[in-house]
Symmetry: C2
DNA sequence: TCCATAAATCGAAATATCTCGATATATAGC
DNA sequence: GCTATATATCGAGATATTTCGATTTATGGA
């Protein structure tokens, strides 16, 4: 739990919005039939929704991953990203701990 | 409650440490006798502890204030800063709301 | 009024972040 | 092996943040 990295990753409105979108798979187009049983969303779908370049979104997902907010799983040519709820909770606990009085 | 501004203010290790120091007045030198009944810590004491320039600390306290993490009160030539516990709690609730699923 | 002190503001250099297009890498199918 | 597609990485320009010293503003006291 690297607070520095996590807060830095959150310090961007698009990255925060991506984390929100990932709460619900139905924020994105339906998965391809062959991916029906996989969790997570591929980079291209996130890019399409965020309306930023492919390289920017790839970079953003890397930052969110390093911060522990998402995990990725590669299947063929696709990388699927999904939220890491446990780590997100751990981050919130850490921020509370740092901010709340004694 | 401007999440953008608040996260940005937190996105700096010195500013986070200042917020921690302000949890406990005894992290700083004792107040002058004529300030004994005042809450908060003057800029010079914070600067001394943070070991950054006066202008930097003044700027930082301004950012923390705009973010709602501290309030200031001027008494004579001194400005006393102290934590705004209610706003800090409100921020934590807002971050939770934004990050936590559903 | 003049001086001293505390804090805020200004202007600038160094560094970091944002965002892009181009290129590289990995994989799938022919 | 060749081609197409998905993603990652690279290099760079634009913008933002960090931090400073110098200056300005506000106040208090001789």
């Amino acid at each position: 739990m690297d607070l520095e990295k996590s807060i830095s990753a959150l310090n961007n409105p698009v990255r925060r919005r991506i984390l929100e979108w990932l709460k619900d798979r139905s924020n994105f187009p339906p998965a391809l039939p062959e991916h029906a049983d996989l969790e997570g969303v591929c980079v291209a779908y996130i890019q399409e929704k965020a309306k930023l370049s492919q390289s920017t979104i790839s970079n953003y997902m890397g930052l969110l991953k390093q911060a522990g907010f998402v995990v990725s799983e590669r299947h063929g040519q696709w990388t699927f990203y999904r939220r890491d709820e446990e780590n997100i909770s751990a981050f919130l606990a850490a921020v509370q701990d740092e901010l709340l009085k004694s």
